[in-house]
Symmetry: C2
DNA sequence: TCGCCTAACTAACGATAGATAGAATGTCAT
DNA sequence: ATGACATTCTATCTATCGTTAGTTAGGCGA
């Protein structure tokens, strides 16, 4: 394939100190995230990751104490990335932006994180349901922190109705995440997707009890 | 645990011919579906299935030629079950039912199939993304046939707009399926879920271009 | 120059997976 | 009673997994 001829030894430690061409652990995480995203959790072995990184499997253990630790690191970064992106985008809005304008922005950024911006976020969404329960639990704090952002945003759509909010938060995030399973940004326009999905969800959330 | 002490030999073939207490292959598929639903694809081994069925692993090979074949059978039944349920429910509606009444019915039945009615359907949704591509491909014909029902239903929400329809069909199905990952029918009321989800989606789909 | 740190290597282990071969068991029609 | 069939068994194989142990080689500070 493209990478990794193990007979060619990578010549020793890094010379560059200030240039930092992506630290090795980061590079390994990049590869892991891309493979998890493409092929799922169980289908990706440490051998696969090591091969693409140009090293032997046990060498990975110098950078990560176990496969679980590597996976947890990738998963947590996946949520951190999208949370920071959404937070920044919301902060860039005018302070008096309407609740539904904020919602639309958050949806667009979330979709962009899933489809192209971050292999980490898409890997997280893709493999979360495949992980043994222990690993899933390790990702829950990050997920809950991210959900709080959406709870803030969505509370404007159903004020004083916590039961409705408790359903709408995971429903909206889940509906957005589900696009990962069928939408291919290489074959369709991501902006069109965001327009269509945003329109349906925003209109649906805007609808008042009385119609 | 509850089932299967292999030292107690199950006494030979079935006597009952007309009574049919669920044919053995069906019983095995039931167990497989339940386990796949609960723990995902990779986490369920043939040993696990055999144990719960009260037999040794190789005995499974008398009924199914391989694990792949068993999985494919479970997956296909998962779609078949929900498709038949939706088809029947739609047929039971008055012939002059409005398009959005049909849509709401389909959504309710689909949610019910996911949460309780059928381990096959929930197993399908749960593990589809975990399967190697070859197995996923084997389930595509069933899935496409089921999607056609929804294409019919949803075409009323965006007449003469095939691009929009091509997005709305997988989006709606995906949004419904995603509830499997966060909604627990033991802790929440399924009817409440259907009310809330149905309201948002139906209102969103009803919204006209001009607002 | 010496010794430590970094970063990789080779070799191997134990566990578990799906799968196969062939023997054994019980039922039933003849 | 017997032979055919259906069903499950035991025993074993091969492949692959994550992981550990111990080793090697280069760069850098004292």
């Amino acid at each position: 394939m493209s990478a990794a001829d193990p007979s060619v030894k990578l010549s020793a430690p890094r010379k560059t100190k200030g240039a930092l061409p992506a630290a090795r652990p980061d590079q390994i995480m990049d590869i892991a995230a891309r493979q998890f995203r493409a092929r799922g959790y169980a289908a990706v072995s440490l051998r696969d990751i090591a091969t693409e990184a140009g090293m032997r499997t046990p060498s990975l253990y110098y950078h990560f104490p176990s496969k679980d630790d590597l996976v947890i690191a990738v998963m947590n970064r996946g949520i951190a990335v999208v949370r920071e992106a959404v937070t920044e985008a919301l902060a860039a809005l005018p302070p008096d932006a309407e609740p539904f304008a904020k919602l639309e922005t958050a949806m667009r950024v979330h979709l962009r994180a899933l489809h192209g911006l971050s292999d980490y976020t898409s890997a997280n969404v893709r493999i979360f349901g495949q992980l043994p329960e222990e690993l899933r639990r390790a990702n829950l704090p990050e997920r809950r922190a991210y959900q709080e952002i959406w709870a803030d945003l969505l509370s404007a759509t159903c004020p004083d109705n916590l039961e409705m909010l408790a359903i709408r938060v995971p429903f909206v995030i889940g509906a957005l995440n589900a696009t990962l399973e069928w939408f291919d940004p290489d074959r369709g326009d991501l902006d069109v997707l965001a327009d269509q999905v945003g329109r349906v969800l925003l209109a649906g959330l805007k609808e008042r009890e009385d119609r």
